[in-house]
Every structure is written in structure tokens, then in C-alpha cells.
């Protein structure tokens, strides 16, 4: 594979420095700083399982200490001594009471764990009580699409929701040209909001999420989905209701139409649904930029109507703000993120000239 550009190299250098730092700070550091941790819930659908598992971990720890303690005790106490007379120890064949004891007690403990487990399986899978928002999720190789049916908004990789509001995700998977035949299984996971749920082509699965805090959350596809599985990340953004409303207002408005300069050239290059005469290299052949006419219909790739309002792109692995990354991406996408355009999965190298890239970058940044 070709080099993943200077940014990755810089990352690696930083990594090396941070590894040394990590060593220096040792386990203290290990106790904090894990933005995708499943041990730090920040929403009710993550909190409930967390509260359930804590006593189970405690019981497991107790059994662990008990069994390991028995082993260590036996090893120390019953080791053959140097002054051993060679006689045999008492030939004990078993003990029925003990057998019953260690059959019944674990069974009772497990029954105690089973009851709340089953209750919670049903309660977390049911529709949220009271009002909730629905977002449709489509897992593509290798990016996420979010559609808000209440507002007719399409966006990608970043799931924006209002804080303290239950959201029910209706999820499925599809691939090129929305063809379920080519979709593969993914799994949606923002650990601080909820556990994961697989996303299956040809079926709809559901997941309830809710954020208790305003913030930006890390998530990732958790079911192996092929070449760029690791590059299929998710960002959860929870906003105060007013901010969310403002976000909705922006997202529901048509894309800006630059009238002059580089951005206008970019718009020309990009093409529109109504003007794709630049053929296969038309961005609009795969990416929608909704100009306010007709209905919003998503293309094969992510909707770019408000590209610049997002923070990350390409499966949330690159920063929108980083112009160099964006240029590198346009120059040769499969070199930046492993994809299989020959298998109709992912974005091909369009052989854009530097001038074309200048224009497209200006246009993309105009799509606030």
C-alpha cells in the first residue's frame, strides 16, 4: 500500500513519544483517558447494564479469589516435603456432600444473576417509554449514514442528537447503489450511550440510545466488515435542545450555491443531479448535494449537502478542518483509506488535477 501521508507519519511519531510518556506515567495514566470506554456510561441505556454487571464482576472476583486461594493453599500445604517417608496419603475418592454443595451454590448464584438479566434484556430492547426520536441508520462499507425521518435530513458518520432524549435507531445495512445484495453485517456501537447492536442487510434491527451529557462521543463499527473495518468509526454528538434545533434548521436548508470564484468552479466540477454531463467523474453521480429542488435522495456515497458542518469525514477518520487531508483524500482516496473500488466498494481514484482539487476543496468548504 502506498504511504498514508505525512499525517500518519506524524501520528506515529507522536505515538512513540506518547508511548514513552505512558510508560513514565505508568498505571496512573492507565486508569483514565479512554474516550471509547465501556466502563464510563453517560446515558441510561449504558448505565443500566453497567449497574447490572458491577455485582457480577464482584461475584466473579470473589470466586476467583476463592478458587485461586484454594489452589495456592493446596500447593503450599500439600506439597511433598523433603522428609517425605514415601507413604501414600489418604486415598479419598470423593465426597457427596461437597459435590452437592458446589453444584447447588453456584446454581443459586447464577439464578440470582439470571433474573435481573432477563428483565433487562426485555426492558432495553423495548421501545423507549414516552416520547422519543427516530433515526434511521444504514451501515455501508465503510461509513455510516443517518437519516432523520422527522426532518428529512441525511448526514454521515456523525449522529447528532438532543441531550436527555431517547433516540431509537432503526438500522440496516446496504452497499453500492443501496443494494442490500452487497451489504454486509456491521455493528453500531457508541459505548457511553449504549451497548452495540448488529446491523444486518435485509433486516431492520433496533437500538435505543440516549445521552445524559452534552458532548462528543467516540464509537466504531464493532462487527468485522472487511477491508476497512477499522476505518468505520462513529461520532455521537449530543446537543442542548436549542442547539439541536439550530442544527436541524441548518441541515434542512438547501446547500449554498457559490456564484463566483474557485468555489463556483468546484460546484461546476462537482456536478449536480440535474447536470452530470461530466460523466463518471461527476461527484454528484455518487454524492448528493441537495440544492432545494425535488426530494433529497441519497447517492451511493455520503450526503455532502452540509459537508463543512461536520468535523470528520471518510468514516470519521479524517478531520474536515485539515485541508491537507482533504486534498490528499481527493488526490487518491484508496491510498488514504483501504477500499475496493474495483469491487464497487468505496471511492475510486478520480485522477483529479491539482487545479480541480483546489476548486473542489473550496466548494466543499463552502457547504456549511
Amino acid at each position: 500500500m502506498r504511504d498514508r501521508t505525512a499525517m500518519r507519519a506524524a501520528n506515529r511519531r507522536r505515538t512513540r513519544v506518547s508511548t514513552i510518556l505512558v510508560f513514565a506515567l505508568g498505571l496512573f495514566l492507565a486508569a483514565c483517558e479512554a474516550p471509547q470506554s465501556a466502563l464510563a456510561p453517560e446515558g441510561p441505556y449504558a448505565q443500566a447494564p453497567h449497574d447490572l454487571i458491577k455485582p457480577v464482576f464482584a461475584i466473579a472476583l470473589f470466586v476467583f479469589i476463592l478458587v485461586q486461594g484454594l489452589i495456592i493453599y493446596s500447593v503450599v500445604k500439600f506439597r511433598r516435603r523433603p522428609d517425605d517417608d514415601g507413604s501414600l496419603p489418604a486415598q479419598v475418592h470423593g465426597n457427596t456432600r461437597l459435590e452437592i454443595f458446589w453444584t447447588v451454590i453456584p446454581a443459586l448464584i447464577l439464578a440470582g444473576i439470571a433474573v435481573p438479566t432477563v428483565q433487562m434484556i426485555f426492558s432495553t430492547m423495548a421501545e423507549p417509554e414516552g416520547e422519543f426520536m427516530t433515526v434511521e441508520v444504514v451501515g455501508h462499507r465503510w461509513w455510516w449514514e443517518f437519516y432523520y425521518p422527522d426532518y428529512d435530513i441525511y448526514t454521515a458518520n456523525e449522529l447528532v442528537i438532543p441531550v436527555d432524549t431517547a433516540v431509537r435507531l432503526e438500522m440496516t445495512a446496504a452497499d453500492p447503489a443501496r443494494d442490500a445484495a452487497n451489504g454486509v453485517i456491521h455493528s453500531f456501537w457508541i459505548p457511553k450511550w449504549a451497548g452495540k447492536q448488529d446491523v444486518v442487510p435485509g433486516q431492520t434491527t433496533f437500538l435505543n440510545v440516549e445521552a445524559a451529557e452534552v458532548g462528543r462521543y467516540l464509537g466504531a463499527c464493532a462487527e468485522y466488515c472487511g477491508l476497512s473495518h477499522v476505518n468505520m468509526r462513529i461520532r455521537g454528538e449530543s446537543l442542548e435542545q436549542a442547539d439541536f434545533d439550530a442544527w436541524v434548521d441548518n441541515q434542512t436548508s438547501p446547500a449554498v450555491e457559490p456564484t463566483d470564484g474557485l468555489a463556483a468552479q468546484g460546484a461546476e466540477l462537482f456536478g449536480t443531479e440535474h447536470n452530470t454531463d461530466i460523466g463518471a467523474r461527476s461527484c454528484a453521480a455518487c454524492h448528493q448535494v441537495w440544492d432545494g429542488e425535488g426530494t433529497r435522495t441519497p447517492g451511493v456515497g455520503p450526503d455532502l449537502t452540509h459537508f463543512a458542518s461536520r468535523e470528520e469525514f471518510a468514516g470519521a477518520i479524517f478531520d474536515v478542518d485539515d485541508e491537507e487531508q482533504l486534498r490528499d483524500w481527493l488526490r487518491d482516496p484508496p491510498a488514504m483509506k483501504p477500499m475496493q473500488p474495483e469491487n464497487a466498494v468505496g471511492m475510486p481514484d478520480l485522477n483529479l488535477s491539482e487545479e480541480e482539487i483546489d476548486a473542489l476543496v473550496a466548494y466543499l468548504y463552502a457547504l456549511e
Binding site: 500500500m1 492507565a30 475418592h93 434484556i121 435485509g202 467516540l218 472487511g226 477491508l227 476497512s228
Partner: protein
């Protein structure tokens, strides 16, 4: 010796090979011991390959955002690591022990179907070679060992090699299962009732029944997968009404019993070793035996716990949560019985004992994290993260592999007549224990802190603590590599110049130690009659008036000295009719190569060649004389001609 019965021009192509030494004797052997040894050394090769793959994985993940290998290569490597360790290392290592130990422990001279046994080995070897040839033929499978459809239907996933390769390996295991079940049920020595069987035999029996019932399921699933890719049969294709979840059900309906297929032989081995080195019988023999059988049964009812976050409903999730918790009960019974086997004993910390204690300790950790998986709402956080990777390595590495290595140290004197070096063995154990925990312990944490599995790089965004844990894991693999080299060195050193072990180096309890070490090819000159559980021990020890066990004075019992029988009967095997070697298992299996490559798709005509070849081998198999000398060949009627290869020496 092997040419001594060459009767000029009268031997047909269907006569049996006679070599007893050298290359030909190995490739034509039907001797369960030789086949067991071949399994073992083949496993060593594949273990090296699988270990090298784990090295690639850990090198790539040692730091965040590394690109030592491309995502494509990484995905091939982790897929092959899983396939290798499951199908080419742990399962066949179990089979190596089944082969070598089962006939000896039940007092038989070979397995029920010796040629089928050779066939199983060649299918295993060729299945492994076939799978690995994918690296040279366009790339190894990259869809994971679980091969989830529809990703595995995709031609870029190279999963055709997976479908055909596993099918070949499945045929190997299935025929072996039939063989061992028949052997255990029908060929036990007189008096060896079920409740007197060594625990390893019990666990082997359960394991082989699991194989018998589980393998057809994966065979069907693999055929369906292949029909989908080659003929467009649409079993798993959602676009045409197929169901990708059906694959998951079929795969795990095989895949979970598979876990017990890997761990039960290990449990059997530990149940042999702990009593010997505690100088006490196994605590709760019946409980351990029936807990094993219970695990076998319940093991078929827990498969969907691999699918708790898949598209299954709350009732299914609840039912499988309950069955998964339930299976912890018989597992716990076994653990407590092993601990209490040591309790009150006189423990000798030989290398096999250390590995067995290590097994009990490490497997307990894997069992406990397994119970936490059954808490379904939180399983949604755990599944597909490194927490799961940690769990199953504690079960299959800390569990199965520790016990299998214990078995290698324990039975090495049986196979070679020499002891393995104890000092190197102990170094191996402690470095192995350290490396293992350093590798897989931190994965519990990195998983719970949000690191997903099967990612070609370690994303930097997961944070410094996840990076630290990954670095520790990578260092752990380096320790394991050193430890494995110590083991290998010990093996070679001990095979070449190990100290002579004598027939009973451990003061063992079961009758495989009644035979010579290494055993004669007919195992027992006279089949022993069994009157006790731990028969061999009872021949060595009697109870005094107070019921206290004492050693039988030498000479007091005719049978207690392993070689006594040979002396008294002056047996040298002349009268013993042993199965003859055969070319046909090897010949027949070679035909599986063209069949396999033909099934990949592009060159279907190879299937024709392969089928003809296999049928030819099959025909030869049928038509060759049951035993040399039983032939209709008129020359054999000549009383001057020796009647058989065995007789010839």
C-alpha cells in the same frame, strides 16, 4: 526384513506394503502410535505458523496507527491465525492424544479402523496444506474464522479456500470421531467397564460424540456457502430472500460444541495428571465424568450466546443467557473436583503437574469471564471487543493448550522411553505462564476500555491506556515466543538424548504404563484384564488391615511389574495379528487436492480428475487383502512361504 517375503512375481499391486522402518513405513502406517506421532509433529509445524501469525498481529498492534502490514494482509493473517489454531493445532493435538493414548489406556492393540485412522491423518495434513496454499494462490481467506455471510460470499474475501479447506478438515475429524467412538465402545479390555474407564477415555468419548454431531452441521453450512458462491443458490443472500443470520446459527451450532471439542480432551488429560502427582485418586470420579457428559449435552444449547447482539429477539437472548449460565455449573464442578484431588495429597511439582495446575488456574479465569458474557445487556458492551479475545484465549490457551502441553510432558516417556528435561520444562512453564498472562491479561482491560476486535490498526483515538495495554500484550507474545523455543529445544534435546525413563516414571495409575515405553507395535503382549478403576495403581498397591494403602512387595504380584507379562509368556508378538500397512489412505487423500482446487471455481475440470483418483483409491482400499497372507494368492498356500509380514520378523 521387509523384503523377506518377496515371492517373485506373485505380489500384485494390491498387496500390502511391508516396510517397518523408514519413510515408507510412516506413509503407509496404520499403527495408531505412529499416526499419533505424525499428528503431533504436524501440529508443531502449524503451531509455528499460527504463532508467527500472532506475532504479525501483535507487532502491528504494538503501537497505535502502525502500518507494518496492509489491512488486506492483516485481515488474512488474523483469519488464518484463528483457523490454524482451532483446526490445525488444538483439534489435531487432541487427535494426536486420542490416537496414541486411547488404545493403550483401554488395553487395545490398535483402533477399530486402522486404515480409516491413516485416512484421517492424511486428510488433516492435506486440508492444512490446501488452506495454506491460498497464500500462494491469490491470497488467504480474509473473512474471519467465523466466515459471516454475506461478507464471506464476496469474491474478494478468498473464502472459497475457507469453505473447501474446512470441509476437508471436517471429513478428517468426522472419520476420526467414528473411529474413536467405535474403538472406545468396542475394544476395551475385559473388565474395563464404563465406570472404570480412565477420565481421559471418558472425555475422549464425549468429545468424539460432539464431533460426530457437530461436524455435519458445519459441513452443511459450508456446502450452502459454496453453493451460494458457485451456483448462486441464495441461502444467505439477503437481496434474494436469503438470510445471513441463518449462517450465524449454523456456524455457531457447530462452533460452540467446537469449543468443548477443544477443551474436553484437555480436561481429560488434567484429570489423569493431577491424581498421579497428588498420589490420590481423582476426587469425585463420577461427578467429573458426568459433568463432562453434561457439558457435552448443554454445549449444543448455548450457541446463540455468540449472537447476543445479532438480529435475534429478547426471548432468544434470554433463553441462551440461561443456558449459558447453566453450563457454568458442570464446569465449576470439574474445577472444584480438580482442586480437591490435590487437597490432602502429596504433590510432586513435575512439569506436567505444573502445567495441569496452571490449566486449572487459568481456565477458571476464562470460565469466570464467560459468566460475565452471559449477562446479555452488558454483553452488548463486551462482544466483539478484546475482552472476548482475552476470554477465549484464557479458555483455549490458558485452558486447552496448557493441558495439552501437560500431556506432552506426561506421555513423552511413554512415547520415547525417555524423560523430558525437567529444568528446561520448568523454565518453559514459568515463561509460558508469564508470557500468557502478559499477552492476554491486559486484553480484558483494553477491551472494556473500548478496543474493538479485528481491526487492522490500533486507532490512536482509543487513548493512551489502551495503547499501553496493547504494548504489554505485544511484549507478552515475545515472551511466549522465547518460551516456545525453550519447549522446542527441550523436545529435540530429550528425543535425542533424554534420560531413560523406565516403564513407569511417574508411579502412574492407568494401564498405558503397563506396556513397554515405547510400546511394542502390538501394545500389549497379553491384553490385561481390568478389575479396578486405576487398574495399574491397584496392581502396585494393596491395602493393609487398616485399609491403608501400601506398596505390593516386589514379586508378590505376578502382574505388577510392567515387563512381567512379557517374561512369563515369552511373547514377542509372533502370534499377534496386527493390521497391515496400506498405501490406499494416502493415495485416496491425494485425490482430494484436485477435488479441492476444482471446487474453488475457476478450474472445475479438476474435480473430475480428483473424483476418478479418489474412486481409484477407494477401489484399491476395498480390493486390497484384509491382511497380508489372507490373500487368495496361491503362493501363500505354500507352507514354506512365511504367512505374513508380522510373522516374517
Amino acid at each position: 526384513m521387509s523384503q523377506s517375503t518377496m515371492t517373485t512375481g506373485r505380489r500384485s499391486v494390491f498387496s500390502r506394503p511391508r516396510a517397518e522402518r523408514g519413510f515408507t513405513s510412516w506413509i503407509t502406517t496404520t499403527d495408531h502410535k505412529k499416526i499419533g506421532i505424525m499428528y503431533f509433529f504436524t501440529v508443531l509445524v502449524f503451531f509455528t505458523l499460527g504463532g508467527a501469525e500472532s506475532g504479525v498481529i501483535r507487532a502491528q498492534l504494538a503501537q497505535a496507527e502502525m502500518d507494518l502490514v496492509t489491512a488486506e494482509i492483516y485481515n488474512q493473517v488474523f483469519t488464518m491465525h484463528g483457523l490454524t489454531m482451532v483446526f490445525l493445532v488444538i483439534m489435531p493435538l487432541g487427535a494426536a492424544f486420542f490416537n496414541y493414548i486411547i488404545p493403550l489406556q483401554i488395553g487395545a492393540r490398535d483402533v477399530a479402523f486402522p486404515r480409516l485412522n491413516a485416512f484421517s491423518y492424511w486428510m488433516y495434513l492435506f486440508g492444512g496444506i490446501f488452506l495454506y496454499s491460498s497464500f500462494l494462490l491469490g491470497g488467504a481467506p480474509n473473512g474471519g474464522w467465523f466466515g459471516y455471510a454475506p461478507l464471506s460470499l464476496d469474491n474478494v474475501s478468498n473464502m472459497a479456500f475457507y469453505a473447501v479447506g474446512l470441509q476437508l478438515l471436517g471429513v478428517s475429524s468426522l472419520s476420526a470421531a467414528v473411529n474413536f467412538i467405535t474403538t472406545i465402545l468396542n475394544m476395551r479390555a475385559p473388565g474395563l467397564t464404563f465406570m472404570r474407564m480412565p477420565m481421559f477415555i471418558w472425555m475422549s468419548l464425549v468429545t468424539n460424540f460432539l464431533l460426530l454431531f457437530a461436524l455435519p452441521i458445519i459441513a452443511v453450512a459450508l456446502f450452502m456457502l459454496q453453493f451460494d458462491t458457485i451456483f448462486g443458490s441464495q441461502f444467505f443472500n439477503p437481496a434474494t430472500g436469503g438470510d445471513p443470520i441463518l449462517w450465524q446459527h449454523l456456524f455457531w451450532l457447530f462452533g460452540h460444541p467446537e469449543v468443548y471439542i477443544m477443551i474436553l480432551p484437555a480436561m481429560g488429560i488434567v484429570s489423569e495428571i493431577l491424581p498421579v502427582f497428588s498420589r490420590k485418586p481423582l476426587f469425585g470420579y463420577a461427578a467429573v465424568a458426568f459433568a463432562g457428559a453434561a457439558i457435552g449435552f448443554i454445549g449444543f444449547g448455548v450457541w446463540a450466546h455468540h449472537m447476543f447482539t445479532s438480529a435475534i429477539g429478547p426471548v432468544a437472548r434470554s433463553a441462551f443467557a440461561l443456558s449459558t449460565m447453566f453450563i457454568a455449573v458442570p464446569t465449576g464442578i470439574k474445577i472444584f473436583n480438580w482442586v480437591f484431588t490435590m487437597w490432602g495429597g502429596k504433590l510432586r511439582f513435575t512439569t506436567p503437574m505444573l502445567f495441569s495446575i496452571g490449566f486449572v488456574s487459568m481456565f477458571t479465569i476464562g470460565g469466570l469471564s464467560g459468566v460475565t458474557h452471559a449477562v446479555v445487556p452488558h454483553n452488548a458492551q463486551q462482544t466483539d471487543t478484546y475482552y472476548i479475545v482475552a476470554h477465549f484465549h484464557y479458555v483455549l490457551f490458558g485452558g486447552a493448550l496448557f493441558a495439552l502441553i501437560a500431556g506432552v510432558y506426561y506421555w513423552f516417556p511413554k512415547v520415547t522411553g525417555k524423560l523430558m528435561d525437567e529444568k528446561l520444562g520448568k523454565t518453559h512453564f514459568w515463561t509460558w505462564l508469564l508470557g500468557f498472562n502478559l499477552t492476554f491479561g491486559p486484553m480484558h482491560m483494553s477491551g472494556l476500555l473500548g478496543q474493538p476486535r479485528r481491526t487492522a490498526v490500533l486507532p490512536e483515538e482509543l487513548g493512551g491506556s489502551v495503547e499501553l495495554y496493547n504494548l504489554l500484550s505485544s511484549i507478552g507474545v515475545a515472551v511466549l515466543a522465547v518460551s516456545a523455543l525453550i519447549f522446542l529445544f527441550n523436545l529435540i534435546k530429550s528425543i535425542r538424548g533424554g534420560v531413560a525413563s523406565g516403564p513407569d516414571p511417574w508411579d502412574a495409575r492407568t494401564i498405558e504404563w503397563l506396556s513397554d515405553s515405547p510400546p511394542k507395535h502390538y501394545n500389549f503382549a497379553e491384553i490385561p484384564t481390568i478389575s479396578h478403576r486405576d487398574e495399574f495403581w491397584h496392581r502396585k498397591y494393596a491395602e493393609d488391615e487398616a485399609g491403608k494403602p501400601v506398596a505390593v512387595p516386589a514379586g508378590a504380584s505376578e502382574q505388577h511389574v510392567p515387563d512381567a507379562e512379557h517374561a512369563e509368556g515369552d511373547h514377542d508378538g509372533h502370534h499377534i495379528h496386527m493390521p497391515d500397512p496400506s498405501y490406499w489412505p494416502l493415495v485416496m487423500c491425494l485425490g482430494m487436492f484436485p477435488v479441492g482446487y476444482g471446487l474453488l471455481g475457476p478450474t472445475p475440470w479438476l474435480i473430475g480428475i480428483g473424483v476418478v483418483w479418489v474412486l481409484m483409491g477407494f477401489f484399491g482400499w476395498i480390493i486390497e487383502p484384509v491382511a497380508e497372507g489372507d490373500d487368495d494368492d496361491p503362493v501363500v498356500e505354500d507352507p514354506a512361504a512365511p504367512r505374513s509380514g508380522v510373522a516374517a520378523h
